[in-house]
């Protein structure tokens, strides 16, 4: 059995450390349990603070011109959407690899940062007009993408508050508790569903939602039944060490299903999601 100091030290090094001796100590020491809760709340904030929104690519920048010129000089005209990182990189690299004049031209364009910034300033009217169009296109695509991304981010952020749910176990949650949690969402689960080892009703985006953990051959997988959140199509995500999928459930919102292992097989996670979705029996 570890002491309080060792417990807190381990907690600050890794608040999600799954070692059973830590869970044991937490269960037996009220002061450390309270401390752990505060650390986990802080951890949730820390994760949100670190997850800054990456700056959108600057369409009026030199990179943009470079991308355009690249396609022209390397003949990689079908390289895809202008301005996407992969396209510009692939096109530039193709030029560099070619080793010919285009390649030399590409290599010579690896300029010091200050010089590149100076080049960026020299955009003409045509570039500015193109930039406006591209910005509009990017904003539209971002606008379309944001709801899904933020839903996934919120689900992942919620996970930080309940690390104990991720225990690998062969013990199912008591039937009464599972029924109570599901009943609040007006749903039940049919026999034959994967074994549920954890069930809580959680406050998420203004609603109480069932938070379940099912045990699979690949380890524990969390399922959140999001009656009030709709997604049009399955959305896969890989955020903050969690991999999962948001799965539409026709008239009943969506399911968020995720594994904590960053190497988790997303196809297996999705298969679990489909099994759980098929096992849910809605009451009205």
């Amino acid at each position: 059995m570890i002491d309080c100091s060792a417990f807190r030290r381990a907690l600050l090094a890794d608040p999600h450390d799954p070692r059973p001796e830590l869970a044991e100590h937490r269960a037996s020491c009220a002061e450390c349990a309270g401390y752990a809760q505060r650390v986990l709340l802080f951890e949730e904030r820390l994760e949100r603070a670190l997850r800054v929104t990456p700056p959108a690519r600057q369409p009026a920048s030199g990179d943009m011109h470079e991308g355009g010129r690249d396609r022209a000089t390397t003949g990689a005209g079908a390289a895809g959407v202008a301005g996407t990182a992969g396209t510009a990189v692939a096109a530039r690299a193709a030029g560099a690899r070619a080793g010919g004049p285009a390649g030399a031209h590409e290599a010579s364009r690896t300029l010091p940062l200050r010089r590149r910034r100076a080049l960026r300033v020299r955009g003409g009217w045509l570039a500015a007009a193109a930039s406006v169009l591209i910005v509009l296109a990017m904003m539209t695509s971002l606008w379309l993408a944001v709801p899904h991304a933020s839903l996934a981010a919120d689900v992942v952020a919620h996970m930080a508050g309940e690390p104990q749910a991720w225990t690998r176990t062969g013990t199912p949650v008591p039937a009464g508790q599972l029924d109570r949690v599901l009943r609040e969402a007006r749903v039940s689960i049919a026999p034959g569903a994967p074994m549920v080892s954890y069930a809580q009703s959680c406050w998420f985006r203004g609603h109480q939602v069932p938070h379940l953990v099912v045990q699979t051959e690949h380890g524990p997988v969390t399922v959140m039944v999001l009656v009030h959140e709709s997604v049009k199509q399955p959305v896969r995500f890989d955020e903050g060490g969690y991999r999962g999928v948001l799965l539409p459930d026709d008239a009943h919102g969506s399911l968020a299903v995720l594994a904590r292992d960053r190497d988790a097989d997303l196809d297996a996670v999705r298969a679990t999601a489909v099994r759980v979705r098929n096992a849910l029996v809605w009451q009205g």
Binding site: S5, R8, R9, A10, L12, A13, D14, E31, Y35, R38, V39, F42, E43, R45, L46, E47, R48, A49, L50, R51, V52, T53, P54, P55, A56, R57, Q58, D63, A78, A79, G80, T84, A85, G86, T87, A88, V89, A90, R92, A93, A94, A96, R97, T110, P112, L113, R116, R117, D238, G240, G241, Y242, R262, D263
Partner: protein, 171 residues
């Protein structure tokens, strides 16, 4: 596999990983413009070496390693300008935060104040989901050293953010 297919897969990979790579680079170099340059150069290097990536499932750590090295190269090439942290946070790129999130801004300012040796493992653990062993392998440290740095990082952050640290163990 055809060249076009390879390129297409590489593009998809870049687009998928770019947000996380940018975040990682940003926390390394503390400047969104330099972070973008580092990631762009890293992707170029990755494309040149993409034949060595056998398993796409391992793409993220592979890219992160390239970003780390590219950042180190950038740092070697030119001495990065030093900045006043308070001033930098005050003029933080609007895209990097949501207005009104004062609590998160305070935390970001505190993260910037952490020594690089503490900030990097913390970002790898919290943002990238690396295990202690993976961080140790990436940073070429022992797991004990990683745990110590992570412990000190959180301890300093909690103090900087005015958390109640009376129960925090000594370093």
């Amino acid at each position: 596999m055809g060249k076009d297919v390879k390129r297409e897969r590489f593009q998809t990979l870049c687009q998928t990983l770019r947000p996380d790579l940018l975040r990682f680079a940003f926390w390394l170099c503390r400047d969104p413009a330099i972070a973008e340059d580092v990631v762009q150069e890293s992707m170029l290097r990755a494309w040149k070496a993409h034949d060595s990536l056998q398993d796409e499932a391992a793409a993220k750590p592979w890219f992160l390693t390239i970003v780390r090295r590219e950042f180190a190269r950038t740092f070697e090439r030119k001495r990065l300008p030093t900045v006043d942290l308070d001033e930098m946070v005050a003029h933080e790129e609007p895209a990097l935060g949501t207005a009104g999130e004062s609590e998160l801004e305070e935390l970001r300012a505190a993260i910037f104040k952490l020594p690089d040796d503490y900030r990097e493992p913390l970002v790898l653990q919290v943002l990238m989901g690396y295990s202690t062993a993976e961080i140790a392998a990436e940073l070429e440290l022992t797991t004990a050293a990683v745990l110590t740095r992570l412990f000190r990082a959180r301890k300093q952050l909690r103090a900087l953010c005015g958390e109640d640290t009376t129960l925090d163990p000594d370093a």
